[in-house]
């Protein structure tokens, strides 16, 4: 198209916006190398690599990291199962209460995390459920469902509905159809949804503070570290490592779902 060239203003604002998104990240990087360890001064007094070694040797990082990984993994698996089931049900013919269900699925991300967290905590209190890994998982899985659900529903919408019928028509029973047709076609969308859900759970702090009790996930560890600075650059080192570790999954998720609009990120 002849006029299909972005105007200068658009270019500048778009790129400016992207830079704005990365400005603090630049500082996170910078302050992972500062020599000063309590409060950040600008400009940093000096640069050093020692914090990477320090972070590696800090024993108190590992249990929260392990807990975060564990919670994210379990929550993701649960969310993938529940989200896929919900998507499968929703993609079928209209049924009574369908709209309400879609609202219900969206609710955990549409309502502020503090509400989800508080509600769960109230419920745990009322039912005398002690805090454990599972109480964290419960919270995380609830808001991860919608991520997987959105990915799966978008893919199912794109999948020609015919192929499921074609499979039955060719003699496959429901299980064979699921295994040979639905799963392979949904797979990449589920994987992408799963990765996003994992990343979301891994970084969650708002709901977690309510459902963790005295346990410390990595973000909660970071919160404590940031509030009570003790080798503060270590938090930046951890943030960078997590940043680098999420780079690849996000890229993969992008390529897996390319062409669809289902990679839209979802709320906390």
């Amino acid at each position: 198209m002849l006029s299909d060239r972005p105007s200068l203003l658009l270019k500048i604002t778009a790129i400016g916006g992207l830079l704005f998104l990365h400005l603090p990240i630049l500082f996170i990087f910078l302050y992972a190398f500062t020599t000063e360890e309590r409060t950040y001064q600008f400009p940093p007094p000096g640069l050093t690599l020692k914090w990477f070694a320090v972070a590696w040797n800090r024993a108190d990082i590992w249990p929260p990291l392990y807990l975060s990984l564990k919670v994210a993994a379990i929550a993701t698996v649960l969310a993938m199962i529940l989200g896929t089931l919900a998507a499968a049900a929703m993609s079928r013919a209209r049924f009574f209460g369908r709209d309400q269900l879609s609202l219900l699925i969206i609710l955990p991300i549409a309502l502020p995390g503090v509400i989800t967290g508080m509600s769960l905590r109230s419920a745990f209190g009322i039912m005398d459920i002690p805090f454990s890994t599972w109480t964290i998982v419960l919270g995380h899985a609830t808001f991860c469902i919608v991520i997987v659900y959105n990915n799966a529903v978008a893919r199912m919408r794109r999948l020609s509905g015919g192929i499921m019928e074609a499979s039955a028509d060719l003699g496959a029973n429901a299980f064979q159809t699921f295994r040979h047709v639905l799963l392979p076609n949904l797979g990449s969308a589920l994987l992408a949804g799963g990765m996003l859900a994992f990343a979301l759970s891994f970084d969650e702090v708002i709901v977690t503070t309510f459902t963790a009790g005295q346990q410390s996930t990595l973000p909660i560890w970071m919160l404590n570290e940031l509030v009570r600075p003790r080798q503060r650059p270590v938090t930046n080192v951890v943030a960078i490592v997590v940043f680098a570790a999420t780079f690849l999954p996000i890229l993969i998720a992008y390529y897996l779902t390319r062409g669809g609009s289902e990679t839209a990120g979802m709320g906390k």
Binding site: T39, P130, V227
Partner: protein, 362 residues
């Protein structure tokens, strides 16, 4: 009430003020946990809390054995049946406790002890020595708009504590400057006195750009945000000094509020034996001594100032206000039935909501 100490359970969970229970992580020299863990076999788990309200909430939530409660929290815990009476016979060092504290009203109810005194100290005025070549003599630097010695206004350069108990600081200031109000205790305010205190705080709102409620964020603000004066704890003063920051502290002419903290035990403490062992340990004079230096507070065991088992010396204790006990008005929970008569005073819950209002600019 526990009658005998059994085998240690292997751990003890404590809610404490930041800096109260150190295991050498912030500074290697300050460690009074590691040895205890080794000798008793009780692992010490600490959850820090920044306000008394938070401590009460944590104790109400449960899951902890001990709490280092200040006077404005301790009676609430007792009234709410969150803590249990202590059998002082099981604490051999009880006899070494400062006599002024043994039966203090914030942990002794109807003759029953609900805890072991831990530390006490004043809420000092911390100031930047570059701005104040001479120590300020009055709290007015944080309450009244004025030009500071460096020629600039104090507007936006002072802080105040982000807890309702700060109303008492205002009341204490009024007690000195407006005797006609007839305030006898900053924790017992009738409607008029209370209103005057709130007005003062509203005035202060215009000077304060951010209230502090986290010791470490306050330290940040002194370093990065240009804050030059604020009510504070000796803890922050000491840490900042140790980093070479130009700060010092003073108890101005109006006097100071202060805290006297008590280690109290949860009614449903899961680890009573370790809890008792820890309470006994807190009274050892070297712990008290080191903590006094670390936190800039006063030990509840007077011997800690002099027996040389820790870092504190008689001078340290004097500097921290060991002799000012009578001048300090310790935090207590305001209740409506006070010395001015039953129902005459404004109770704490109104302090809470009104102070939120003041911070919100109302």
């Amino acid at each position: 009430q526990v009658t005998a100490i059994g085998a240690p359970e292997g751990q003890v969970n404590i809610v404490a003020w930041p800096g109260y229970i150190e295991r050498g992580e912030t500074m290697k020299e300050f460690d009074w946990v590691t040895k205890f863990e080794e000798s008793s076999g009780c692992k010490v788990n600490v959850k820090t809390a920044n306000t008394s309200d938070e401590m009460v909430a944590l104790m109400n939530e449960g899951g902890f054995d001990l709490v280092t409660a200040s006077g404005d929290a301790s009676l609430r815990l007792v009234a709410g049946d969150r803590v249990q009476p202590i059998n002082i016979d099981l604490i051999p060092s009880w006899s070494t406790v400062d006599d002024r504290l043994k039966n203090a009203p914030w942990h002794t109810v109807k003759g029953v002890h609900y805890g072991v005194p831990y530390m006490w100290g004043p809420n000092v005025l911390m100031y930047n020595t570059n701005v104040f070549p001479e120590p300020p003599t009055s709290w007015n630097v944080v309450f009244e708009e004025m030009t500071l010695p460096d020629g600039k206004s104090n507007k936006g350069r002072v802080q105040a504590y982000d807890g309702p108990i700060h109303v008492a600081d205002a009341a204490q200031y009024l007690m000195f400057h407006r005797p006609e109000l007839g305030i006898t205790s900053p924790y017992e305010l009738n409607e008029d006195q209370y209103k005057a205190a709130l007005d003062l705080l509203r005035q202060q709102r215009n000077l304060v750009s951010r209230y502090w409620h986290d010791a470490f964020i306050q330290m940040d603000d002194f370093k990065n945000e240009g804050v030059v004066a604020s009510g504070s704890w000796p803890f922050q003063v000491n840490l900042l000094k140790s980093e070479g920051q130009p700060v010092a502290s003073v108890i101005p002419q109006e006097g100071a509020t202060g805290w006297a903290d008590t280690t109290m035990m949860h009614v449903n403490a899961a680890n009573p034996n370790c809890a008792y062992l820890w309470m006994e340990h807190t009274l050892s004079s070297n712990l008290q001594s080191d903590l006094a230096v670390w936190f800039g507070a006063n030990p509840s065991v007077p011997a800690a100032c002099t027996d040389g088992r820790g870092m504190a010396t008689a001078e340290t204790c004097t500097a921290n206000g060991m002799d000012d006990f009578e001048k300090i008005r310790f935090w207590t929970t305001p209740v409506s039935n006070c010395s001015q008569g039953d129902g005459a005073c404004v109770p704490y819950y109104r302090w809470v909501s009104d102070y939120i209002g003041v911070i919100g600019g109302r």
